[in-house]
Amino acid sequence: MNKPAPSADGGDSSPTGRSSWGSEQARLVRGELAAYGNRLRGGDMGSLPAVLGLVVLFAVFASLHDRFLTTYNMANLVIQAASICVLAMGLVFVLLLGEIDLSAGVAGGACATITALAMIDHGWTWWAATLAGITVGALIGLAIGLLVAYLGIPSFVVTLAFFLALQAVPLKLIGAGGSLRFNDEVLRGLSIKNVPVTAGWIVALVIVLAFAALSLWRHTSRVRKELTHKPLLLVILQIAVLAAIVLGLTALLSRNRAPNPLVFNISGIPWVAPVVIALLVFWTFVLTRTRFGRHLYAVGGNAEAARRAGINVNRMKIAAFVICSGMAAISGILAASYTGKVSPGSGGGNELLYAVGAAVIGGTSLFGGRGRAIDAVVGGLVIATIPNGLGLLNQASYINFLVTGGVLLLAASVDAVSRRRRSSAGV
């Protein structure tokens, strides 16, 4: 065992003068890339397979319909994917513990009903109404969590019961067959309005700069403390890639993308995108950089070991369900924002299964202990791409069912096949 600093995979421990810095760094990056290749072959895939699946889907649909890759349709995709991404992000917390929440979809519908009623019947402003919806969501999660944690009823059954019971809420509040208008400027605007182009550029730049500052700061700190670290060049490369993606997308979405550009102007990033990104960043931070997140993984990996380490397993379970239902509320509000209304059936269809599927395709395990917020977003994009692409093709219903299933399987296979070695690496 060596002293940690001069890590086996390199590190800039031999700065042999300015002149050779470049070649030294290049060598280190090559080493790092080789190690990455090894990691891939060893089965540690990250979200790469799901991204691959997404690329395959894009290629297929782009070849089948020329409108698929238009910026207008890409913006559609972002808006359509938002609510499932958010729902799946919430579910990741529950799945991390090896639990499931079948009620998340209808909980979202119920919470959106509350939000809508608060605005319509009580005239609350959008943020107060949203808060009310999320609070109700959290309370639902609390109830589920208490039942699962303290009574020990399997979460499948508890949430199946809530799945049924929560359908009563909008049915009672809205009335069978009715619907509530969801036309608040701000909330409805999330789906149909866009961030002003200048503001979009500013936010994009801030994100890139913040990421760069954080990466570099962390790098220097680890170098100073003589801990294992990536070569500086790689850090810079990562920053460059992120900058290219973020700024590229911003540029793309800042153009007028209306199908009838002369009459109407649609440009800028759809408002839902920053919402989803903010949630993604926040929950990624919670999962990876806080004690709470660490404990979630521990409970999911080995609940008994976590208990022995003094972690309050019951409290973690409750927290996971609260987060999940709270996120479901946000997802429900986004869905309502998309269709401009809430109706009794909202969230009661296959949304939940799709969201769980999204998390799983993204790389989250149903057995607990493995999963990330980004999984939900990548998986959600995969799931949303299927109806988006199929919708352009305008086929008979049964063909849609067939193809949706087939394409889902295809995307999952790309994922599974590239992930396989994880298990063939054994134990």
Binding site: P4, S221, T290, Y297, G301, R307
Partner: protein, 261 residues
């Protein structure tokens, strides 16, 4: 029995524990003294690990008292016990396979800066502790514990327990999977901990190790305490007899034949 070396740090009195029909612990008295290594010995299935888990708060007691530093304490779970300053290495290790070595070592007591985890400090501390335990083949402390060899896992579990300033340390067969050098380090560590004034409990089936470090020996036989005597008053053979037969000379359980599980 001989005079007690001061007041016990941790003491169980007349503890009973059953799993359904199986009565595993019968009226067990057990004490841990500061500055002493108490060896807990017994045959396979005698109830040693069960006793450890009762002390740890993982299993409840069916009856009996739990005293710490002379006062009775209410123990409802592992958190209460670790709050008392008791650290335990379990025989079944109990590591989270999905986490890496550092995460496992600091589980439940992560270092933080503000609300953010201080991974750098934890990583450094983990290296130091592992190195002190003679681990040579661990490549990175960021390796997930699922990929570790049996002995490496055991070392991580031990490192996890000795990382903290505690008053009592219980080690359930800590050296079972360890190599020669690592075993040496752990035995030395056990001695050092006791010399620092901690109460240490060592469970082992290896009599050489027991006699090398133990001050007292408590022998369990079918869930009953067969003897609880200073190590120097016992011979190797006597201990083996206590373990396998429950009696040795005038030591041990009076009515061995009546003892059943």
């Amino acid at each position: 029995m001989t005079a007690e070396p001061g007041a016990p740090l941790l003491e169980l009195r007349k503890v009973n524990k059953s799993f359904g029909v199986v009565h595993v612990l019968h009226d067990v008295d057990f004490a841990v003294y500061p500055g002493q290594v108490t060896a807990l010995v017994g045959d396979n299935g005698a109830g040693k690990s069960t006793l450890v888990k009762v002390i740890a708060g993982i299993y409840g007691r069916d009856s009996g008292d739990y005293h710490f530093e002379g006062a009775p304490v209410a123990v409802h779970g592992p958190r209460d016990v670790s709050a008392l300053g008791v650290e335990i290495v379990y025989q079944d290790l109990a590591l989270c396979d999905n986490l890496d070595i550092v995460d496992n070592m600091f589980l439940g007591r992560e270092k933080r800066k503000g609300i953010v985890l201080d991974d750098e400090t934890m990583e450094t501390m983990a290296w130091e502790t592992l190195t002190s335990l003679s681990v040579r083949t661990v490549k990175s402390v960021r390796q997930s514990v699922a990929s570790l060899s049996g002995g490496q896992r055991q070392t991580v579990a031990i490192a996890k327990a000795v990382l903290w300033n505690s008053k009592v340390v219980l080690l359930d067969e800590p050296t079972a999977a360890l190599g020669v050098a690592q075993t040496r380090q752990v035995l030395d560590l056990v001695r050092r901990l006791a010399d620092r004034g901690l109460g240490v409990v060592l469970i082992s089936h290896n009599m050489n190790d027991v006699f090398e470090v133990a001050d007292r020996i408590t022998a369990l036989y079918l869930g009953r305490v067969a003897a609880d005597v200073p190590a120097k008053d016992l011979t190797h053979n006597q201990v083996v007899e206590l373990i396998t037969a429950g009696r040795s000379g005038d030591l041990g359980i009076r009515d061995v034949a009546a003892a059943t599980i």
